[in-house]
Each structure stands twice: as C-alpha cells, then as structure tokens.
C-alpha cells in the first residue's frame, strides 16, 4: 500500500529460493474462491476431492480484506448437491436428461415438499427453484430418515428411449446417450467416472446417490461472497454503487473480478471471464489517469519479506528440539492447523456434519476458537517452500472463516436455508433484505459490520 492506494503484491517461488515484489499502478485480484475451510465429507485420501479445486484457498478474500477493502455477502457460502463422494456434476442429468431426484421410497421431494417453498417466497415460489431451497428440501428428507437420495439416471434414460421402436435406432440412441453421460464426467470430474467404474455402475441400469457437499466460498455459480466493487457507471443508481472505475474495490487501484468480487451470483465461467475483461479495462483506465509510479517503502518490503518467510525460520529454529518434525510444542504445521480450522467451522459454523445449522451461541464459541488460531498462526512452521505455501493458504482460510462467522452473526435471520440455517432466527425477515458487508481496518485491527441497501437495477 502507498497511503490509501494498492501498489502491488508480494510472494515467493516454490521452485527456487526467490522472493518476489510486484510493483503495480493498478492491481486486479482474481485468485478464485476458497476450499477446505469446512471439514470435507471425506477425510482420508478423498480430502482432496473437493467440488471446487483444493488449490484455491481464499487468497482473493485475504488480499482484499487485508488491504482494508469492504467485503460483501461473506455469510453466503455455496453448498452444491452433487453425485455422492466424487462430486460429479448433476446439471446435465437434471437439464439435458430430465432426470428426477427422489428419496429412498422413490418420492420426488420437490413435489411432496412443495408447500415448504411458500415459506421462502418470493424466492421459493419463483421458477426455477433456487439452488439453496432445492438443497433444503433434500436435507429435510434426510432428517426425516428418508435417505439415501437418488438421481434416477436409469428412469431418465428409459424415458428418453421410450418412443424409439426401431431396434437399430434404439441401439444408436443408447450409444449416444451413454457417450453423453460419461463425457459429462470425463470432461470435468473424472473421478466420478472412476467411482461409477469402481462400483460397477452403469447409469442406464442403476440410479446413483446424490448428496450435499461441504460449504465453499465463491462469488460465481450460486455463491456470492467477495469484495464490494464499483458497479458500471451506466447502470448504477447512485454514488454508493459506483465510484469512478468499474469493478474497483473500495481501495484505490485495487480491482476484483470472478470469485473475488461479490454479490453477482449468476456469473459462471463465461460471466467471470467477461467480468475479468471489464475489470482489466477499467484498471487500464485507472493507470492512464494515475500515471505517477507508486511509492514503495523499502522498510515495508523488508518487513513483508520477514513476515512471509517466518514459518521457514520458525522451523529452522526449533526443529532439533524434538525427534518428530511434525510434533513439536514450539510450532504447528500447516496440515494440523487446517484440520483445526475445519473442525471448528464444521461443528460451530454449520458444516455438513451438523446439517448446516448454527446459532449465535455456536458462532460466538467458534469465533473464540478462531482467536486462538490467530495467535497460533504466528507459530506456523514450514520445512520447505511447499509447506510455506500451505502455511499461507491456511492463513488465508482463517481470514475467510472469520469474516464468514462475523457476517453470519450480523445477519440475524435465515435467508438461505440449504446453505445455512440459524436455528435461533429460523425465518427470513424483511429488515434483512439488505447486503451484509464487513471491513477490517489495517490500522486498528478492528472489524466493522455494515448494512447496505439493495437497489434494484432493473
């Protein structure tokens, strides 16, 4: 930072012994969402089988939050329902193959539980039913003891084949459907194909279980968490929706797009890509308007370098005290640090094992435990640059986790059942039809919670 302006970034190489300082007249934050903040459903080898890539650890949020930028929708996590365990996509089955999801008795819970949707009007009564409400009805089925939940792939294929009487045509059609079904996985979630093969599942013969994954933080694809960025000049209704440059955060010269910019859930791949183009163009305009090179203080660089490389120094200093390189009272390794964070988030902040339910009392307890983690983060240790990367990934996760808990506490209602449910505030309230924003002050270290009005653009 140069005063109130973001003027670059710092980092290190995992290949060579190099520390990097990037000087910039404008910075665009596009480092994706966050995985492994909540305890995953599989904790052995399957730990890595997250729905979103495990190498996205909340760097986007950390970067904007620590710069002092205002953040939005940090309470909104995304819980995708996917084919169980391998998290294969369900979209093609629902939309292309018109498959139905049912409980173990074969009942379509979207029909049998339709009345529940009225409690969440106008969202619940609109078409298509929002993702979180579809999740919610499914969770209710599971709580009623009606699991497992199945994607009826076999019935869908049967239905698609129903009108074909010619034997040759039927054979051709079946081959085409089979190819489409497998390609869906082989193109993007190969482990789901392996999961079918390892269980001898042929989708035209056997239905497959689906389930809710653990929560993730993304701004695209039905998530919403990210930085509060300036809207486009031509569409924004007022100054608090637009401040000079499209997609600029509340920090001068710091832009965000994709999963880094919040409150724009309906961008998916192409939307995030286009938002990146819009943000990059605005950043260029900022550079042209602010051509003076930024000042970077050498003392600050020295301080950053020391802080960033500290886990290596901590390990060197204490490694000979114990015979086990991972168990040593003087430090904590990044893996156990991550597991501690995941346990806290799962049990107190409404993870998968508690069916995404939480309350003020639980959240406050979780926040208390995160304070210990913040203190212990000073004692993270790394034996090499790979572990140094893991240390910083987990510090990023910790900050994403804290802003999540604080914003869930702030919003005293339940607006996204199926993503999370506040048992102490189980309904949606009119007064909370607003954005819940937060900001961390780099000078004082204080958090500020901000309620922002929703202004309709259309």
């Amino acid at each position: 930072m140069d005063g109130d302006r973001c003027v670059g970034a710092a980092g290190f190489s995992v290949r060579e012994n190099k520390f990097y300082i990037f000087k910039a007249n404008a910075v665009l934050d596009v480092m994706g969402g966050a995985v492994h903040i909540f305890r995953p459903r599989s904790i052995g080898e399957g730990l890595g089988r997250s729905w979103y890539p495990p190498f996205n650890s909340g760097a986007s949020t950390y970067f904007t939050l620590k710069a002092g930028a205002e953040m939005t929708c940090q309470e909104v996590r995304f819980v995708p329902v996917r084919f169980k365990d391998s998290y294969g996509p369900v979209g093609a089955w629902f939309l292309l193959f018109k498959a139905k999801a049912t409980n173990a008795k074969g009942e379509d819970y979207m029909e049998t539980r339709a009345a529940e949707l009225e409690n969440w009007a106008p969202y619940g009564t609109s078409k298509p039913t929002p993702t979180n409400l579809r999740n919610y009805l499914m969770l209710q089925e599971l709580e009623a003891g009606n699991g497992p939940i199945y994607m009826k792939t076999d019935e869908a294929i049967k239905e698609l084949m129903a009108d074909i009487t010619d034997e040759k045509e039927a054979k051709r059609k079946m081959k085409e459907l089979e190819s489409e079904a497998w390609e869906d996985f082989l193109d993007m979630t190969i482990s789901q194909a392996l999961n079918w093969a390892s269980h001898n599942v042929s989708p035209e013969e056997t239905p497959s279980e689906i389930s809710a994954c653990e929560p993730y933080f993304i701004s695209s694809h039905s998530g919403a968490s990210g930085a509060w960025v300036s809207g486009p000049k031509d569409l924004s209704p007022s100054d608090d929706y637009h401040w000079g440059y499209d997609n600029m955060t509340t920090i001068k010269g710091l832009f965000a797009a994709g999963d880094a910019s919040g409150a724009s859930s309906h961008k998916f791949s192409s939307g995030s890509f286009t938002e990146g183009r819009i943000a990059a163009k605005a950043a260029l305009a900022f550079i042209v308007d602010n051509p003076d090179s930024a000042n970077i203080d050498n003392e600050k660089i020295k301080e950053l370098k020391e802080k960033i490389l500290q886990p290596l120094a901590t390990f060197e200093e204490h490694k000979d005290y114990a015979n086990d390189e991972d168990v040593n009272p003087n430090f904590i390794k990044p893996k156990m640090f991550m597991f501690r964070l995941q346990k806290i988030m799962d049990e107190y902040a409404g993870g998968a094992s508690v069916h995404f339910k939480t309350s003020k009392a639980l959240l406050e307890k979780g926040l208390e435990f995160l304070e210990f983690m913040k203190e212990d983060s000073e004692k993270l240790a790394a034996k090499d640059t790979n572990e140094l990367m893991r240390c910083w990934e987990n510090i990023h996760r910790l900050w994403q986790a804290e802003s999540h808990i604080r914003t869930m506490l702030f919003r005293e209602e339940t607006r996204w059942p199926g993503y999370y449910f506040r048992t102490d505030h189980p309904t949606m309230k009119e007064e909370w039809k607003a954005f819940a924003n937060c900001k961390w002050d780099p000078e004082t270290g204080e958090w500020e919670m901000i309620k922002r009005e929703i202004k309709e653009l259309t």
Partner: protein, 144 residues
C-alpha cells in the same frame, strides 16, 4: 483420487530441466526423487484428480487409483490424447471395458482469429464496451 507413478515406466524426464508432471501439477504435488530419479505425488490427499499429470506424462507412467476411502479397488480410467481428440478407456471393477473418444478442439492450433473478423467498437478506454462490441453481442438491444 490420487495419482501414482509406475516405477518401471518413469525415467524422471531426464531430458528436461524439470519433470513434465512437476511442471503441470496445479497444486505443487509432484516431486522428483533425485536419488531414484523417479517422480512421485507427495500429498495424495491434496490431489484433485485433474489428470493433468496423467495426460502430460511422456512415458505414460502416471495413473490414478481411486480414493481408497470410498472407492472399491480394481477400476481404471485412462486417457490417451492426440492433437484433436482424447480417447478414454474405462475399465470397471468387474472387468467390463468401455471406450469413448471425444474431440478436444475443432480448429487447428493457432488458427483462431481473436476478433473473428469483427470490428473494434471503440477506442475509448472509459467506454463500457469491450473489444468487438457491440458487433459481437449480436444484438442492437444495448445501443442507445
């Protein structure tokens, strides 16, 4: 689903300055054991099954063994890439085999014109229009 390296097939990419799998892994998992001169996956529980290492390995020494905490043993899903398509072999636990071939691109490499013959709408950096817009929007809905 973790990747593993078949010892016999891996030559440590000795002709290259770093192994192909080290180069391609998005999570910094593949490392070269300099004594054995073989690559290995150092943290299988952080592996996303993206198959990048499997696809890039010049000696086809890398395969995937399904996450053992929920997949029964015995299945293999293996790709073979060509310049324009990918061939997948899916071997089931019960030995059944399925093969699928999908295109991976429909145009020759390097042949795409970024502007696709469309006009640059404006040189104004402050305009919300992106390169080739409004031409590429295919609609006059946004024109004022």
């Amino acid at each position: 689903m973790p990747s593993f390296v078949i010892s016999e097939k891996c030559d440590g990419c000795k002709a290259l300055d770093k192994t192909a799998c080290q180069y391609i892994c998005p999570n910094d998992l593949m490392v070269l054991d300099k004594i054995k001169n073989k690559a290995y996956n150092r943290a299988v529980d952080m592996c996303w099954e993206c198959y990048s290492c499997v696809k890039i390995c010049p000696t086809q020494a890398i395969e995937i063994r399904g996450y053992a905490d929920f997949m029964p043993l015995g299945a293999v899903v293996q790709p073979l890439r060509s310049t324009d398509s990918i061939m997948w072999s899916v071997k089931f636990r019960n030995k059944k085999i399925k093969r699928f071939k999908f295109p991976i691109r429909t145009t020759p490499e390097g042949s795409i014109d970024p502007k696709s013959g469309m006009e640059t709408g404006t040189d104004d950096l402050k305009s919300p229009l992106l390169r080739t817009e409004p031409d590429s929007l295919g609609t006059d809905l946004f024109e004022k």
